[in-house]
């Protein structure tokens, strides 16, 4: 058997109780597009699946106290089409809209995208640029994990889906003037993991002609969605110019460490693409270069 039982609790408390009873052999499942396949291909195993998509309160997108909140059951299709997400976090809407294929987007959740802990996840990368946090509830209490701390290794999340329930993603509603963008390079236009993806968030000050805050997240150039911090610092350092954009892109290509991959391409090419796509994206956002 790939799993022995499947339950759909009506509350987070019930979900936690089921997990506890399963003593580590239970697993939270949301959309299931990753997990179902992993279990059937015997890359991981579980006895009990606890489906959280029916839990009230996990299915919404909202705004509260300056945070944008996305419930654990929200699908990529829902996020991509949501007016609030599209307006407040364009890069996230774009990333969600380019995952896999329509059918995958209809099932797969953003939370699942984070917990699958893949470096190139198209929702997780923009969420990283947005400095999102994940709310995790367990029998001992609840905590908020910054998204960057949610990754232990490729395919291993810091969130233990056999003992905890991740209920919500949140990120600060960006100030007026913040622009975000998503980019993606892939071998074809659907049903394909990216060779490179990235999300950029820029808050530029038109009076000082400087970037007050830059956030750049890239994948798959490291074991998890990668914050190009040196590149961000560069962008924030001096007045905006085409040379600044080029330099920031160059630095990001240096800091990123993609490896030569049979399917994705060589390391030199992938680094060159980091540089190219960042230069183009940031240039477009700033209307320079």
């Amino acid at each position: 058997m790939y799993w022995k039982d499947y339950k759909r609790p009506g509350s987070v408390a019930e979900a936690l109780a089921l997990l506890e009873h399963a003593a580590g052999r239970g697993r939270i499942i949301a959309g299931g597009t990753d997990l179902t396949l992993q279990l059937r291909q015997r890359q991981s195993s579980a006895d009990l699946l606890v489906d959280v998509t029916g839990i009230d309160g996990l299915g919404g997108i909202g705004e509260k106290d300056g945070w944008i909140t996305i419930g654990a059951a929200v699908t990529h299709a829902e996020a991509a089409g949501n007016p609030l997400v599209r307006q407040a976090a364009r890069a996230l809407a774009e990333g969600c809209g380019q995952v896999g294929a329509p059918q995958i987007r209809n099932m797969a959740t953003l939370m699942g995208n984070v917990i699958s802990a893949q470096p190139a996840a198209d929702a997780a990368v923009p969420l990283t640029a947005l400095e999102a946090e994940i709310r995790v509830v367990s029998t001992t209490g609840e905590r908020w994990i910054p998204i960057e701390e949610a990754y232990l290794a490729v395919g291993r999340s810091a969130i233990d889906a056999s003992r905890e329930v991740a209920t919500e993603i949140r990120f600060r509603k960006q100030e007026n003037g913040v622009q975000t963008r998503f980019f993606r390079l892939a071998k074809r236009k659907a049903l394909t993991l990216p060779v490179l993806n990235g999300a950029v968030s820029i808050l530029a000050d038109p009076t000082t002609k400087r970037i007050r805050r830059a956030r750049i997240a890239l994948g798959p150039v490291a074991a998890k969605p990668f914050r190009a911090r040196r590149s961000e610092a560069c962008l924030e350092s001096v007045e905006i110019s085409p040379e600044l954009v080029e330099e920031a892109a160059r630095i990001a290509a240096e800091e990123a460490s993609p490896r030569t991959s049979l399917v994705r391409g060589s390391a030199p090419y992938r680094k060159a693409m980091v540089r190219l796509f960042l230069a183009r994206t940031i240039g477009e956002m700033l209307a320079v270069g």
Binding site: R188, K189, V263, G265, S266
Partner: protein
């Protein structure tokens, strides 16, 4: 049902198999289930080259739900298969030659039990040196993959004196081209079901050649051929494969040994790993031309990786030889084509059989020569292109059905109409063109079609043909041809296909031969049927048979318009006189086999011609190539079903887009690293260009109503057109497919260095 009121041939008649496919009623082999049916799973080799010292099956046999675990010792028959050389086993005996070679078969009550048990089988291997390229295979001292060594076959062609001609040429262009291993990737994974009824075995499977599979399966498994019936299920795509060793064979073996019905469906990964592939080619090509654009000479050397077994290697070799010089009048040609065994996956028949590979080479060469001469790429092709009466590389004088130049003109006009968007530094646009010719039929040997028509008391006709529709629309086209001759509607003809018990052997669904060869056989059968019925109608009416004409179900007399006889009446009269109302048609195109040394001969009775042009956008920063538009014009002789023809062209184009830009089997020491759709990239709907598919018709006198074929031609010019477009757009020449973004990027980087 016809869309417009018109005669049947030439009409886009709705597909006869359409409604069932659209409603989920069509039965594919994987849909069949019988009570008590066993599910099968193969244990396959995970080594590329090894001796089998022992196979331990006890643990697997003991697994719950397992009914039998079979090895080669359990096969009463020859255990040998192969379209050309029987060098492959149903279950390996003492050696495995590629990763995926089948070793043992588990039959169990559920697919899960079969799979779990197969994982418990232990094989003791003694690894042998693995050989992963044809160069390695042919090096002296290389480990022998087969007892007779690693050379499968080598053949030459010589016409005129190419060395001398090259010396006198104003322009000489020499390049090496490489094409990858490619996967058929039909959406339906291989499947088969077998069941004994009394002593008779029926095997249901998607087969492109039921009669061949019946013979081979019976002999290999060890059954009397007369007791084996192969019934074609709906075929979910074939593109050259889905014949010879397939799940149906294993189902037959399991049914024989267990007495129970048995079913096997390959997983997608298994379909990638274990089934045949397009041969990777290395092509060394030298072209010489005069200043005024005449191609004077071509010297071509091809080295192909035929993989672990022979499969259709020889046929692919011969087709490559026939077509490698392209559709051009070249008086001096030499070729050497060499196919070598390796421990890579098996090379087999895939749409075009070597010609997509050589077309990439010959169309790149012609483009490069044109550039050197400052000549327009259309003009050089018009100047050198075949016309009626031209002589091919094999010395064959072409007939009248040659309209290559018309296809060039049609495509050129459309390209000019569409135009080219203005390029920027970051995004460059360009058009590329490519032409091709493709012989219809097996090539250099007999390959008869066969058809049989019967008529019942009510006057309803039934057409029996051995080949099944692989998706290309053959069922509809054949029924249209019959209906045209019989002057009735398509709905009034029943079709039975692919059943070895009821249908004649029509040869294989391949080589783009069905419309031409089987269609002609159908036409012959239908004409004979009319002859039989006309005699009977004449005897009823008392008028001369010659004055009777069949139309709309009645024989009408020109002598006496008041006399008319229905088909049913004619049938009754014939039966009354004891005349059997069965008409058979066999058409075997004429050919002259190729001389083994000079390659000279007339291997095919007719050829199809085509031109395609591609508009691409090259992102000069990333190397990404987007195909925006493809214009295609194909000379099909006569389009029996125009929508069917354009549908084939569009499908061929999508396969060509994949071949040129994204598709390649990635091998590491004989192991396929990308054995799935997420890492082997077929074009999706978003990757397809806008297409303009035009039909040209230069009627082939020996074809049914002038028809030739289009199935494989559809694919052939696409990749070279795209590669030529990349050069036109970005100034870089891709010589190794696929033209991935990274490859184009590297070429652009290199071209920028001083």
């Amino acid at each position: 049902m016809s869309k417009e009121s018109c005669d049947v041939v030439g009409c886009s008649v709705l597909r006869v198999d359409g409604p069932d496919k659209l409603t989920g009623k069509a039965c594919y082999a994987g849909d069949i289930a019988f009570t008590g049916m066993l599910h099968l799973k193969l244990l396959r080799s995970d080594r590329p080259h090894a001796k089998i010292l022992g196979i331990r099956i006890a643990e697997a046999q003991a697994h719950p739900g397992v009914v039998a675990v079979l090895t080669c010792r359990d096969i009463p028959g020859t255990n040998r298969i192969g379209r050309e050389i029987r060098d492959q086993n149903v279950l390996s005996v003492d050696k495995v030659r590629f990763i995926g070679d089948p070793i043992a078969l588990v039959a169990a009550k559920t697919p899960e039990a079969a799979e779990a048990a197969a994982a418990l089988i232990r094989v003791d291997y003694e690894d042998l040196p693995g050989i992963f390229s044809p160069e390695e295979a042919l090096a002296p001292g290389a480990a022998k993959i087969h007892p007779n060594g690693n050379l499968l076959m080598e053949q030459s062609l010589l016409r005129g004196d190419p060395d001398r001609a090259l010396q006198g040429a104003d322009v000489v262009v020499a390049n090496t081209y490489r094409t990858p291993m490619v996967e058929h990737a039909y959406l339906e994974p291989e499947a088969g079901v077998a069941r004994f009824d009394g002593g008779n075995l029926t095997v249901w499977m998607p087969s492109k050649y039921s009669h061949f599979d019946q013979r081979e399966l019976a002999e290999a498994i060890g059954l009397s051929q007369g007791l084996v019936r192969v019934v074609n299920t709906t075929i979910g795509g074939c593109f050259g494969d889905k014949t010879s060793l397939s799940p149906g064979y294993y189902a037959a073996l399991a049914a024989l040994k267990t007495g129970r019905p048995a079913k096997m469906v390959y997983s997608r990964e298994e379909s990638f790993m274990a089934t045949r592939k397009r041969h990777p080619f290395v092509i060394r090509y030298t072209t010489g031309a005069s200043r005024d654009g005449r191609i004077l000479a071509a010297k071509i050397e091809i080295l192909a990786d035929t993989g672990a077994y022979c499969a259709s290697g020889p046929t692919v070799l011969v087709k490559s030889l026939i077509h490698a010089a392209g559709p051009y009048d070249i008086p001096n040609i030499s070729m050497k084509v060499t196919f070598a065994y390796t421990n890579n996956p098996v090379g087999g028949s895939m749409r075009g059989l070597g010609v997509p590979q050589v077309a990439f080479a010959h169309e790149s060469q012609v483009d490069i020569v044109a550039l050197e001469l400052g000549m327009d790429p259309f003009d050089i092709r018009v100047k050198n292109g075949f016309r009626p009466g031209s002589v091919t590389a094999t010395g064959q004088k072409l007939g009248d059905s040659v309209s290559l130049v018309e296809t060039l003109a049609a495509v050129r006009a459309e390209v000019e109409r569409i135009g080219t968007p203005p390029s920027t530094a970051a995004k460059r646009y360009g058009w590329g063109v490519a032409a091709m010719f493709y012989g219809i039929g097996a090539g250099g040997r007999s390959n008869p079609g066969g058809a049989r028509l019967e008529v019942d008391d009510a006057g309803v006709f039934t057409l029996f043909v051995g080949i099944g529709d692989v998706g290309q629309g053959s069922s509809t086209a054949l029924v249209q041809i019959a209906a045209e001759v019989l002057r009735c509607r398509v709905e009034e003809i029943r079709l039975v296909s692919g059943d070895t018990e009821r249908c004649p052997d029509s040869g294989v669904t391949a080589a783009s031969r069905v419309t031409y060869i089987v269609g002609r056989s159908v036409q012959i059968a239908a004409e004979k049927m009319i002859g039989l019925l006309r005699e009977a109608a004449a005897s009823i009416t008392g008028v001369a048979p010659g004055s009777l004409r069949l139309d709309g179900g009645f024989f009408l007399s020109s002598e006496d318009p008041s006399r008319r006889v229905s088909v049913a009446q004619a049938v009754a009269a014939a039966r009354g006189e004891g005349i059997p109302l069965t008409a058979e048609g066999v058409f075997d195109p004429e050919f002259i086999a190729l001389n083994p040394v000079t390659g000279q001969g007339a291997p095919m009775a007719t050829y199809a011609f085509a031109t395609q042009a591609a508009l691409v956008a090259v992102d000069t920063g990333s190397g990404e190539v987007e195909v925006l538009s493809i214009v295609a014009c194909h000379d099909v002789g006569r389009a029996v079903n125009p929508d069917g023809v354009t549908g084939q062209i569009e499908g061929g184009i999508s396969m060509g887009v994949g071949f040129s830009l994204t598709e390649e089997i990635l091998l590491e020491e004989g192991r396929i690293r990308n054995a799935g759709f997420s890492q082997y990239f077929l074009p999706t709907s978003l990757d397809m260009p806008e297409t303009v598919a035009l039909i040209a018709e230069a009627p082939e006198a020996t074809g049914p109503f002038g028809a030739k074929g289009v199935g494989e031609p559809a694919l052939l010019p696409t990749a070279p057109a795209i590669v030529n477009a990349i050069h036109a757009a970005a100034g870089v020449r891709v010589k190794e497919l696929p033209a991935t973004a990274e490859k184009v990027w590297r070429l652009l980087q290199e071209s920028e260095r001083p």
